[in-house]
Assembly symmetry: C2
Homo-oligomer: 226 residues x 2
């Protein structure tokens, strides 16, 4: 069992996967598989084969594969929020806090040994390519009512609060932060696959990505020579 685990919205799962061997296998292997083959190609049947279990058993943990994806994404944003809390806890200055948030958003994700059975590097690639699919669905409103987007919303809220502190008069804080959080993902994807849509270097976009995000955010929050 891990030392630390996140308390995720209970509607995300039927049985809590963090607490059993089978559940942990499901999480671990599904991250691997979705990363490799993409969410469309991924099925519970294939997953069952890989972990030497059965489709029916997996369905006892997750209502369907879309809920599993929401679970993983929610886990990811909880993890991101946790990291922001760790890194900003000692800091006083709001602008410095905000810079740390942007750093964390922009940087390449590495495996965090605090959490066994989660490969954060692979998970972050999943979030890059599947986040929008999870959100932009016809049943947003139902899913949202059940709080299934809580992870991302909570993350954005926390960062937005810091941004608000930096510039209380800026009128678009929520939009700015949610936009920048998505941009971080899109631009990594573009730099890699559709380079004409990006100004970031393909081999290592992360440093420039930070500069790009930092400039957007701080120019917006710094009422210059008005």
């Amino acid at each position: 069992m891990s030392l630390l685990s996140f308390k995720l919205n209970e509607k995300l799962y039927l049985r809590d996967p963090q607490h059993t061997q089978l559940g942990q296998n499901i999480i671990k292997k599904s991250i691997e598989m979705i990363d490799k083959m993409g969410f469309e190609q991924f099925t519970f049947k294939k997953l069952a084969e890989q972990i030497e279990s059965t489709e029916a058993s997996i369905y006892r943990y997750f209502e369907n594969k879309h809920h599993l994806l929401l679970y993983l994404i929610s886990w990811y944003w909880n993890w991101m929020e946790y990291r922001i809390e760790l890194s900003t806890s000692g800091i006083k200055d709001a602008a410095e806090k905000l810079r740390i948030c942007l750093r964390i958003l922009a940087e390449e994700k590495k495996i965090d040994p605090t959490f066994e059975f989660v490969n954060e590097a692979a998970l972050s690639r999943i979030v890059i390519s599947e986040l929008d699919k999870a959100y932009l669905t016809k049943d947003v409103d139902d899913l949202n009512k059940d709080g299934l987007y809580g992870g991302f919303k909570s993350f954005c809220k926390k960062v937005a609060a810091i941004a608000q502190e930096v510039c209380p008069s800026y009128p678009f804080t929520s939009s700015l932060i949610s936009s920048v959080a998505l941009i971080a993902n899109h631009q990594v994807f573009f730099s890699n696959h559709l380079p004409s849509l990006s100004s970031l270097p393909k081999d290592n976009p992360y440093e420039k990505l930070y500069e790009f995000m930092e400039s957007i955010v701080f120019l917006s929050l710094t009422p210059s020579t008005k």
Copy 2:
């Protein structure tokens, strides 16, 4: 037949749907249906019923439903680019041109009578909720090699060229423009369905959306007090 039609990449379709009655029905009805039920629920079988044709006949126009979606999205960005050309052709000042582009990106889309059998209002809702699904796929690289993302790329390139003119020294023009183009869509969706992620009013987000986008872009392109 329409007076005007766009020359879309030939790999998007098997038979050009703009040139036949059945083809036009496919376009017209698929826009309606995808708008109503979402891309996931939409199938060629259901479409065939609606237009009183057969699944097999539709497969003679489009390889599969993903290609049909790419076709619609490509059409949309061609239309957007065409509108930008119309609206900026007489203008000299680059900054003013760029503002017009942002206006067009941010505004609510209305039906354009120039193009029969395309409901641009519905199509723009499709682009809002399905654009990322079309791009963020495991076979991006193949699709991109065939030029299937040409519409969006060409649109961004055109706007980026104007932005570059406004500020030749800005290092992230491509990233800025592609980001803003996506933001326009996301923020409309968020203001409607996930309002805590947005600062825009739910009932009519468009005016504020423009202000938001304008401020991001022009603050970035205007090296203030450096």
